[in-house]
Amino acid sequence: MKTIISIIAALLFSTLFYGQNIGLNLSVFSVITIGLLIFQHPKIARLKSAIVFIVVYFTTAIVVYFNHSALAIFANCVAFFTLIGTFSESRSSIYIRWLNGIYTTIAAYFQRRSDSTIDQEQQNWKKNRDYLQLAKLIGIPLMVSIVFILMYKNGNPIFNGFIEKINFEFINFQWFLFSLLGFFLFNNIINPVQIHPATTKDLQTDNQLHPTGPLLLDQLKKEQQLGILLMALLNILLIFYSITDIYYLLNNDITSASALSSQVHSGINTLIASIIVAILIILYFFRGNLNFYQDNVLLKNLSYTWIFLNIGLVVLIAIKNTEYVVVYGFTYKRIGVFTYLFLTLAGLITTFLKVRNVRNLWFLFRINTQVAFAILMVSSCIDWDHAITNYNLKHAENLDLNYLIDLTDNNAILLQDYTAEHRVSSNQQQRIHDKYIGFIDKVSERNWQEWTYDNILINKKFDR
């Protein structure tokens, strides 16, 4: 039954993807995958975590059709591996799901081959087989025939012509191999496998920190003294840095691109260094028994202060970046800064939770990978090229039209509409026109497998 399903899925796979670009086919593939997984594993599919990841994967499949961006395709692949990993082991952490998902997709077949046991009858049959005789029977006649064919070919022009006429071009062998790849893929994902040591270890490890041995009060006291001194010093330094930064922000009217850029980038560098050091120091002091030491309140409070000061630093850089965006509009780098700041904020909050709730390092890994996954999924829902162009054309005080022209074709219609209503240089107008025509041509030439939402838009525009 499973083989028949895999064969049908493989044929669909080659119909969807053979010689095609990504478009509607990836969305259809996602739906087929979800359907197969639910059909094969109905019990797992009813679990809450499986339902969540099915919905996420399905959403990314729709997003690929509407956005057709590299980010959307990447998010769809990540969601695919996560879903397969969920069907492999639904209770594991998200990064273990990724590992299981990737492993299942690329090598589940080999795992099953290794796991399979041969019964006694097969073993006896294998033992009784005379491999040497088999090799002789196939190999020697084959080799001798080839040598003789090659000899006769040179000796007889009619025979040569006959041999030359034999060709297998009527068989699309590459299509067959592509279908084989599809079969391999579906055969792998229909029966998800696990990376045993990693999954078992992950399931055994909880998020709570436990005492590592008897509390040696004298040693803990000394360690705490060092911690308090270090954290106090770092807090004072960061307060001083933040005050000077706020003063500079309030008393200097920075509007030039280079000044704003330098402000944001130097701020980001400081932030990276500061937060890495902050988290490492906090993790060092709260790695073990100091968490269970009764007099650790001051050290904990200093750590919280340090975390909140770093959050303040995040806010300051966000303000600078917003100023940059208001004046010069969005770019991928500026959006990247916001993403980084958001991830940093999540990292600081989870570090705070780790110290407050006496959690271990695994808690940090688990929660932060989940946050990163959520951000990836949410950000893939936005057509960034379109959003950047739309915002900059409407709101940016200094418009960099060349940057917008260099983005992908997703903004071609917006730019074309803009040139119809606004004056732009002839060179830019030509580039926008070329981009628009190229986009229309590309969309019109697509096969049904490659369709995206743009096809509907273009058809509507030209009333086809």
């Binding site: 590992l99 090598a107 795992q111 090659l150």
Partner: protein, 123 residues
């Protein structure tokens, strides 16, 4: 462990996969001779790759309590992920060149099978 048999089986498999993929592009009757000749460099590649990247896992970690199956379950998943990533990277680095796709596909399949063959051998 019968390492030599593993080398031989891997050579045959790698040659088959490689020529199966490239055959629609360049296969004629004369090519049969090249298929046979190509087994020599393929054998060298298989020996080097298996001896350096697969065999050490079994020779170093296999004990009476940690059998071949355990070695396979512990190390193969990560080996497969790394090998697959390197193969995909190699294919993209070659700008999706046809022969490189054939080479890396046969490399990944052969090394994976080599793991399976080792894991199924008696202690």
């Amino acid at each position: 462990m019968n390492v030599f048999l593993n080398f031989c089986k891997s050579t045959v498999l790698a040659t088959l996969i490689f020529w199966m993929i490239i055959s629609p592009k360049s296969f004629e009757v004369d090519t049969f001779l090249f298929v046979l000749l190509s087994m020599i460099p393929v054998f060298v590649c298989c020996v080097v790759t298996i001896a350096l990247t697969i065999y050490p896992f079994f020779s170093l970690f296999e004990t009476e309590t940690f059998d071949k199956k355990a070695v396979f379950n512990t190390f193969f998943p990560f080996y497969a992920i790394v090998a697959f990533s390197l193969c995909v990277y190699g294919i993209f680095l070659s700008d999706l060149e046809f022969y490189m796709i054939a080479f890396f596909t046969s490399a990944f399949m052969t090394t994976s099978y080599s793991w399976v063959w080792f894991s199924k051998e008696p202690m």
